[in-house]
């Protein structure tokens, strides 16, 4: 036990500052009012949906929870049920098997809600595209508010996409390092 505590004290706080989100990065979300977006931006809950991805994007998303990217320090957390969620983070080219599940997840999330598609598969269909096994980009199945292209996109880009979706503007302070 003492070894663990000694290690914690030795390492200290290693969180890197959050990415700066310019207005150009921000998604143009017309359907939700800005003050609602401000409130969501302060306390966002995300439900991650793997709609047939290869798990490459999932590895990058799970890196967001480590001390370096520290998504929790920005007031954002991942939750277990779409009923508790404000945002769906969808990866993968929506395989036929997951199409109905994705629709139901979207239906089960209370309004106001946002959807961010992560990865090339989620944005454009990627190398799988539309076919007998997949439906292509996530926007083919549920309405998408922001996209984060990349295969897989680095965690910083995913974070920029999430923050941009809630239009977290320049003025918002990032948490201090101590």
């Amino acid at each position: 036990m003492w070894h663990v505590i000694h290690q914690i004290v030795r390492i200290g706080i290693v969180t890197e500052p959050a990415p700066r989100v310019t207005d150009a990065d921000g998604a143009a979300i017309e359907r939700i009012h800005q003050d609602i977006l401000d409130i969501l931006g302060q306390a966002l809950t995300i439900r991650e949906v793997d709609a047939g991805s290869c798990n490459g994007c999932e590895l990058e998303i799970s890196a967001l929870s480590n001390p370096y990217y520290n998504i929790e320090g920005l007031g954002i957390k991942f939750v277990a049920s779409p009923r508790h969620a404000d945002m769906l983070l969808v990866t993968g080219p929506v395989s036929r098997h997951m199409e109905e599940a994705l629709r139901r997840t979207y239906d089960a999330t209370p309004a106001p809600k946002l959807v961010v598609a992560v990865g090339d598969c989620g944005c454009t269909g990627g190398i799988f595209g539309e076919g007998y096994a997949t439906r292509g980009k996530v926007a083919n199945v549920i309405p998408v508010d922001a996209v984060v292209p990349g295969c897989p996109p680095p965690p910083l880009e995913i974070l920029r996409g999430i923050l941009g979706a809630v239009r977290r503007r320049q003025g918002h302070p990032t948490p201090d390092r101590t």
């Binding site: 390492i11 706080i13 306390a43 929790e72 920005l74 277990a80 209370p110 106001p112 948490p175 201090d176």
Partner: protein, 315 residues
């Protein structure tokens, strides 16, 4: 009449401050995990956001499902009204003594379990069944520890008991040491902390408390989350009151109240640090190891009672 006004004000302060304790707990936990923490008032933002969400209910949710968050919050509000936070001379403490306090927790738990069973999914049933098992095993340990304390102070009224312990000065009672350990273990089990339950888990098979509230959203979820934060604060304040009551106000003068406030804030902050270190160092237990853990708590409280009877009251 002023005493009642103070009691009402203290209750409101209790309810309002509970998310702050949650925020401080989160902050210390993040620092223990080498990460920067969100602001201490982040839980308030969470609650405000939840209140702005639109309500979404399952098709077969009954009136009971919709009523449960209010019942749970009401029970926690009543419990907060009877626990001395800043001052001991509370007229509201006569409404309910420590056994009724346990009854309030049981009421909240009963209805939450029913809400879990209401929709008819397997998660809710699993959460309800596990939660009732854990609470059934925790209750004898808790009541035995509480009995030891009540027999020492010859009362079950929380205000009077705290005052008695305050007045008897810095006395080391071995029975109190065992009772403190037992009560701490029961508090961990009842507030769903590690090692009994992981409050931040996403895996339904590892959930106890969270599984019962998977269907809730919006303002219902806000009430339930707030109520669980109040419950954690109540257990913390109980431990502080029974075992470390020094500093609590015994009259209504401004100086005494300020000292009382500062004292309880400092003690709660320290207790939160102890809880976080405990949670960081331990891992969550398998479900069927929890009965052994709670059986250990029962042994401790039994020891507390025996040492009280044998050592402190002269055989």
């Amino acid at each position: 009449m002023t005493a009642w006004a103070f009691a009402a004000a203290q209750t409101l302060l209790f309810i309002a401050a509970a998310p702050l304790l949650g925020g401080w707990l989160q902050r210390v936990k993040c620092h223990m995990q080498n990460r920067a923490a969100p602001a201490v008032w982040q839980p308030y933002r969470n609650l405000a956001k939840l209140l702005r969400k639109r309500m979404l209910l399952a098709e077969n949710a009954s009136w009971l499902f919709r009523a449960v968050p209010y019942i749970v919050f009401g029970a926690m509000l009543l419990a907060a009204a009877v626990v001395p936070l800043i001052t001991v001379h509370l007229p509201s403490a006569a409404i309910a003594d420590v056994i009724v306090l346990v009854g309030f927790f049981a009421l909240a738990r009963f209805f939450t379990a029913l809400a879990g069973l209401d929709i008819g999914t397997a998660f809710g049933g699993m959460g309800a069944s596990r939660e009732m098992m854990v609470s059934a095993l925790a209750e004898p340990a808790m009541l035995m520890a509480v009995f030891t304390l009540s027999m020492t102070a010859n009362t079950t009224n929380l205000s009077v008991a705290t005052e008695y312990i305050l007045k008897s000065g810095l006395v080391l009672r071995p029975s109190f040491l065992f009772a403190l350990l037992a009560l701490a273990i029961v508090a961990v089990a009842e507030t769903s902390r590690i090692p009994v339950d992981n409050p931040a888990t996403h895996l339904e098979l590892t959930m106890l408390h969270e599984a019962m509230i998977l269907e809730y959203g919006g303002r219902h979820l806000a009430l339930i989350e707030w109520a669980s934060q109040v419950k954690l604060m109540i257990y913390a304040v109980l431990i502080v009151d029974f075992f470390f009551p020094w500093g609590i106000a015994t009259d209504f003068s401004a100086l005494a109240l300020t000292i009382g406030l500062v004292a309880v804030v400092a003690k709660l902050m320290l207790l939160a640090v102890v809880l976080v270190v405990w949670e960081t160092v331990l891992a969550k237990m398998r479900l069927f190891r929890v009965p052994q853990f709670l059986g250990f708590a029962f042994m401790l409280s039994l020891l507390a009672m025996l040492t009280h009877v044998v050592l402190e009251t002269g055989g």
